[in-house]
Each structure stands twice: as C-alpha cells, then as structure tokens.
C-alpha cells in the first residue's frame, strides 16, 4: 500500500477511535456509575441505552449557544477548542500496535507532557474570559492544580525512562517484553495515575469545576457546543491518560497471542478507563489546599525517591 495512504488511514483511524471512545464514554460512565450505585443508568434509548450518546449529542448541538455580553468574545470562543486540540495532539504519540502509530518521536513522553501543559490554557482563558467570579476562581484553582501536578507526572515517568533508556513510547513498550513496568515501577505507576487524574481535573480531583462550591467553575458561563467541547476534552483526556498508562506501565499492545496486539491495547485501555470511573464512584473530592499540600509534601518527595532508588538499582545491576 502507498505509505502516504497508509499514514492517512492510521491518522484518521486514531482520530476516529479517540473521538468515538470519548463519545462512548458518556454512556459507559453513566452506566458504570449506575452499576456501582445500585441503579441502572440510561437504559432506554436503543439496546442497553447505547443510543443515549446520539441523543445527548443531538441535544447539545441544538442548545442555545450563548455568549454573555460581559465576556471577552474571541478568547471565550477559542478556549474550548484548545483543550480538545491539545488532547488530540497527545494521541499522536500513542502506539496502538507494533506498526500502528501516528508518529514515533524519540521524545514521545516530553511531547505528551508539553501538550498536556498547553491544555491548562483552555482552562485559564475560559475562566478568565467568562468575566465571572466563580469562573475565575475555578480557573485559578485549575492552574495551581495542573501546574503542580505536572511536576510529579513528569518525575513519576522518569523511572520508566531510566529503565528503558529512551523517551520513545515504542521502545518503552518493547522494553516491557519480560515484565510490565507496573511491577518494578509500582510507585511511579500510582503517582502517575494520581497526577494524571489531577491533570485532567477528573473526579475526585475536579476542584476547578467543583459543582458544590463553584457552580461549574471555569465553564459556568458556557453552553451548547462550547460546553460540549470542554466535555469532549475531558473524556478525551481520560482516554489519553488511560492509553498512556497502558503504554507506559501495563505493557501496551503486549499480551498472549490469542488476541491481536490492537485488541490487547484496547482491552487494557478500557480496563483503566473503568478503573477511573470506579474512582469517581468511590471517592469524595478533597479540599483544595489538601490536594496541593498532598502533592508537594507527599508525592514530590516520593517520586524523587523513586527516581533515586531506580537509578541505584540500575547502577548496581548494571
């Protein structure tokens, strides 16, 4: 096959897969939350309620798209697009199967960290341009949370990088042939999950949008498809961090050969996504200062210690 056509197919395949997953997550999350809370969730529209996704999308497209007169129009409009764009950029480096990936950067992890940092802008700009006190408070909280948790997210991955000797996600997966990195890097794994949850400001760390305190935080003033973009961005973010957790710690596409590599990757990603939904069902939201002090006082020393020990072990075993 023509390599350009093949590349295009992969690019659009990944794009389509990511967006489908993000849309499907709306339904999956509601059903799973229902399951864990002894109720059903949406089960009326279509088989098992799966067409609820379509119903939700139709609804959100036809909602009034309201820009408040006191908002900064341009930035208000651009902000929701940033979050989706940055997360989609992040998908470029995820290797789905041995020969199915968009790009194989030798700085893959750094690229992911960079794109997720740009994602903060959507939150800050959205909250600021809304010209609303609650939005601004949410944006401030989000900025503090995301900037501090980015530090440990990067540091928690350094153990994996040291064991592989490369930033490229492709070689990281291949280095897990013998043993998944979740075993030697269990500390890094836990810190990465926590930091990634905070990074996507996902429950239980949804402090920037905390409904009970800040109405909806930075997207209080948004409606219609602009609000939908924030939503899609959040679900894309969950998919991305699940895919990265699988790639970095759970062996990516590796697995017994009765299933193709792609299926193993999807299966593991789905399991991680369901685990994240379970966290939402189980855990309450911590206080804002608790989250930050927990990050700086517990997670930062722990991740530094993890790097130290990993380095010492690598040095000792050669």
């Amino acid at each position: 096959m023509n390599p350009i056509v093949q590349n295009l197919l992969i690019v659009f395949g990944v794009l389509f897969g990511a967006l489908t997953m993000a849309a499907g997550l709306i339904w999956i999350e509601r059903r799973m939350l229902g399951l864990w809370q002894d109720r059903y969730g949406p089960n009326r529209v279509g088989p098992f309620g799966i067409f609820q996704v379509i119903a939700d999308m139709i609804k959100i497209f036809f909602k009034e798209d309201w820009i408040p007169p006191f908002a900064d129009r341009t930035i208000f409009t651009v902000a929701p697009a940033i979050v989706v764009a940055t997360v989609l950029l992040g998908f470029a480096i995820v290797p789905v199967a041995p020969n199915v990936f968009v790009v194989d950067f030798n700085i893959g992890i750094l690229f992911f960290l960079a794109t997720s940092s740009i994602g903060v802008y959507s939150l800050v700009l959205g909250g600021w341009s809304s010209n609303n006190k609650y939005s601004l408070l949410g944006a401030l909280r989000g900025t503090a949370q995301m900037i501090s948790y980015e530090v440990f997210m990067g540091l928690s991955l350094m153990g994996v990088v040291m064991m592989t000797g490369s930033f490229s996600l492709h070689s990281i997966v291949e280095a897990q042939q013998g043993m998944w990195f979740v075993v030697p890097q269990i500390v890094g794994f836990v810190i990465f999950i926590i930091a990634a949850l905070a990074e996507t400001h996902r429950l239980p760390f949804d402090i920037p949008e905390a409904e009970s305190e800040l109405i909806a935080g930075y997207h209080s003033e948004y409606s219609g498809m602009k609000f939908g973009m924030f939503f899609v961005g959040e679900y894309l973010g969950i998919t991305l961090i699940s895919a990265l957790t699988v790639t970095l710690f759970l062996g990516g596409w590796l697995g017994p050969s009765f299933l193709p590599p792609f299926a193993w990757f999807s299966l593991k990603t789905l399991v991680v996504i369901l685990f994240i939904v379970l966290l939402r069902a189980a855990l309450p939201r911590p206080r804002y200062d608790q989250l930050l002090s927990y990050g700086w006082k517990v997670l930062l020393p722990l991740s530094l210690l993890n790097i130290l020990v990993t380095g010492a072990v690598i040095l000792a075993t050669g």
Partner: protein, 171 residues
C-alpha cells in the same frame, strides 16, 4: 490511605448486588390496599349509587377540587346530578373519604392518571362512578340508616333494618 483503597473495593463490590431501581412501565410495584390514589364513587350491593349528595366531601376538600349538585329521584332519594373532581388540583389527602357518611367516595391504589391535555384531568361522574362496592363490601347505607318516604317511616320497608340509635354506644 487504606481507607481509600477499602472504599474503592467496597464500591466495586456493589457491582454484584441487585439494583434498587424498579423498571417502572414494565415492572410495577405492589401498592398497599390503603393507597390514596384515583378517587372513585362506589355503588351499594344492590347496584344503587351510594352518594347521597350531602356535600360533606366538597366541604372537607382543602383544595376545593370537588364540585357536585344534589337532586332527588322519584322516590325522594338524593343523588348527585353531576359530580366533578378536578384531579389537577386534588392532593389525594383522603379527607373526602373520611368525611363521607355513606362510604360512597373512596380512594383507590391507582396513580397512573397523567394526561396531555389539562382539561382531561377533570373527571365527571361517568368516569368516577364504578360498578362495585370498593373497600366496604356489603354495606348499604339505606339499610342501616333508614329512609322516610311518603309511604313509610324509617326501617319499615321489606328489606330494611331499623335505623341505628346514634345515642347508643353499642354497635
């Protein structure tokens, strides 16, 4: 830390529990016999209307949703010419049932009375009157109260019991 893991585990275990939700239109919950739902007008065992048009229900109704007009038939018995309940006002408190001296008006275990048109919430006598005795089987008001007509005094007809002495405490 351990408590967090424990709560995650416990929430995960909820997966294997039965769900509380009743899938309503397909499954229906069993309503208790004394459920206060749709109001009906009942008949006595002989098939005659129990309602004597005394207006006590309309007076007792706290939201004034009952309207009726009493009239008399050729034997001098009172019955409602029309009987109208506006269910968009009714709060199903059951005071009309308690006020009724003849057990005519009764609340039933039925709540499925939604309508698309608000006018349809107003029930006329044809919709309210049922061909049954409701909760009080075998009760005939005229048998125990008696009725004085032009031809006879209270309790003197063939199938009539003498009227209850209301000053006596014995049943």
């Amino acid at each position: 830390m351990l408590s967090i893991i424990r709560s995650i585990y416990l929430v995960f275990l909820r997966m294997f529990r039965p769900r509380f939700t009743v899938q309503y239109p397909e499954e229906k919950i069993k309503l208790p016999a004394r459920w206060r739902g749709r109001i009906v007008l009942t008949r006595d065992p002989d098939g005659g209307e129990r309602c004597v048009g005394c207006y006590l229900c309309a007076v007792a109704c706290p939201v004034d949703c009952i309207a009726l007009q009493a009239t008399e038939d050729e034997h001098g018995r009172r019955y409602p010419e029309f009987f109208r309940i506006n269910f968009s006002r009714c709060i199903f408190c059951g005071l009309c049932e308690e006020a009724c001296p003849t057990y005519a008006i009764q609340l039933t275990p039925d709540f499925e009375m939604s309508e698309y048109d608000r006018q349809n919430m107003v029930y006329e006598k044809e919709e309210l009157l049922i061909n049954g005795e409701g909760k009080y089987k075998g009760y005939n008001f005229y048998n125990v109260s008696g009725l004085k007509t032009g031809e006879k005094d209270k309790g003197e007809a063939d199938n009539e019991n003498p009227p209850i002495d209301v000053r006596d405490l014995m049943p």
